[in-house]
Subunit: 349 residues, 2 copies
């Protein structure tokens, strides 16, 4: 077992100084061709690579991005990671992940762990618990120590940092408009409680779409699911709530659900009640997961371009990292809004 070779070892072997070796390897003009050749050959032979950790210490720059997400077993988040990773690698950065598991304390601990020198900046999406508690001190502290943060998807306006968000409002609005255009008269909304910002915005989109078409929102057409900390939704419970919705409102001919699972459950319940999709009820979901694509009937859905969000977030962060020259010069933060697309499949006409 040969340990990784260092400059010091090369220097000893070739009987030159460490700094000569260092310079030779960086092809410095100061060093004679002869020495350079010798050193470079030797380095190649032993497959020398500078130690990242030493470089990080010296440069006070790790070239590593920390990404904190609530959950990784989730298409949206894993696609975002893929986007981040893609851009990061292209620009010479590594990605280190932390999972908050939707928990406030895990989010804090994880950020703490990484903030102590392991990374140069964060890309993150806020956990549900944090959103509920509205305790954002860890974000502000991190930033006040000069570590930039880019938030995506689940963000809050209180925090001043770069953000990448989905155009939830218009995504939802367009989806509901589509249902209206398709002659739906009684459109149900299946959404989450309001503290999840995206749920709130999608709900708003639903309301605005109705309004624009002079339709009056009816409270009994709106179902708000409480999936608080419990990201593993209880399917039975969910379906029974949806069943209540359908039963207490027999005229429902359209459903807009703020995520894939709610939409699928709605389809399942509808079928169970003898309704045909899309002839009796048309359904649209939100998110670009696998379920939508492979369900029967396949689900019309609002695509969020998750990977693109990740790419954009990574670019924003790295731009900021590499422009630290002008330090706290222009403290201007951007919010990039990613447009959605409606992907039409079999669940709508």
């Amino acid at each position: 077992m040969k340990r990784k070779i260092t400059l010091k070892q090369i220097a000893r072997e070739l009987d030159v100084s460490i700094s000569t070796v260092s310079k030779a390897l960086r092809n410095s003009a100061e060093i004679s061709e002869d020495t350079k050749q010798k050193v470079q050959a030797f380095a190649k032979l032993y497959n020398y690579r500078p130690n990242n950790i030493a470089l990080s210490l010296k440069n006070r720059k790790t070239n590593t991005i920390g990404i904190i997400i609530p959950e990784i077993v989730h298409h949206f988040f894993s696609k975002v990671i893929r986007g981040v990773e893609l851009v990061a690698n292209n620009r010479g950065y590594n990605v280190i992940i932390g999972l908050s598991n939707e928990s406030f304390s895990k989010e804090v601990i994880n950020m703490d762990m990484l903030a102590n020198g392991s990374i140069d900046g964060f890309i993150l999406s806020i956990s549900k618990e944090t959103l509920q508690l509205q305790d954002y001190h860890h974000f502000n502290e991190t930033m006040s120590q000069g570590m930039p943060i880019v938030m995506f998807d689940r963000v809050v306006s209180d925090i001043k940092c770069d953000k990448v968000i989905v155009d939830d409002l218009n995504g939802a609005k367009n989806a509901v408009k589509k249902l209206i255009e398709n002659k739906c008269k009684s459109i149900a909304l299946i959404t989450t409680k309001d503290y999840v910002s995206v749920g709130k915005l999608r709900t708003q989109g639903y309301l605005e779409a109705l309004e624009e078409h002079k339709m009056t929102p009816k409270a009994d057409l709106i179902l708000k699911i409480d999936d608080t900390l419990d990201y593993k939704v209880d399917l039975e419970e969910l379906e029974s709530e949806i069943e209540q919705l359908f039963k207490s409102n027999k005229k429902i001919d359209g459903v807009f659900a703020v995520n894939e699972l709610y939409a699928l459950s709605a389809m399942k319940v509808a079928r169970k009640l003898g309704l045909d999709i899309p002839n009796d009820v048309q359904v649209i979901g939100f998110t670009d997961g696998v379920l939508s694509k492979h369900s029967t009937p396949s689900l019309t859905t609002v695509s969020q371009h998750a990977q693109h969000m990740g790419e954009k977030a990574a670019d924003l962060l790295i731009d900021k990292l590499e422009n630290e020259i002008n330090e706290d010069a222009d403290e201007e933060y951007q919010t990039v809004i990613i447009a959605t697309d409606l992907i039409e499949r079999e669940s709508t006409k």
Copy 2:
């Protein structure tokens, strides 16, 4: 913007030496209560945290695990990551990810990047291209530099390292046995080309199950899909191949597919051909993804316990890292086999 505080700064502020501060913070008996109090209070006030990078350099230990997977937008792999992360964090490690994207060169580059001091060891699953090329030099080189590797799921016997694998053979065997017990007489297999080790083993399980029940495998019941480097399978192509299978073999009453997507496609094609599931054809898939659970009918499948694999892999790796005391003493490697479970749902009787 206040930069992170260091020992040096604390020392200067309190007018003591750096080592005094260091010792005081570690509650050394050498230091007077007085000084300790003073230092600790100051450190707390300024929220001092030792710099990870400096520690890594000093200890030649990063407390970071590198994980290289072919693809992150994939339930199996993201569950594995979740398992790794869980154990790693509990044991004081961070996780850094690299995506090979099923490409040999990206696998090599990513490992290279991380191996230069960024991490203490690897957990990885081999990319398809690497498996095809059978070029494993990068694994061996990494290990010969004293960096341990734990492989999971996609492994090769040529490489000597710890491994965590699914009991693919018996998983498949039990699935096919189930079909046989359920009176299927003509069981089709939808699998991948043989260079993917797991595909090969699952195929073998299928054959052994038939054999044990004195059923003769028929070549025209076996469909081998070529999903080479193209992890985004062409659905149309896939379905048309499966349709051929069904058409050229009208007696098929059972299907065992080596993954979720093949199974779902088989169900879709069967339905299209007017066959009822599970009455005319029973279907079993492999993997514990979301598709199986939410498809209609829901899919009976072989669960691999991906998260558990991740946990096990992390434990193996960290055990090895923390037992480096006896260095290359006992060069014994373990292969942990994770048993599968058959999750019965609606696609079988």
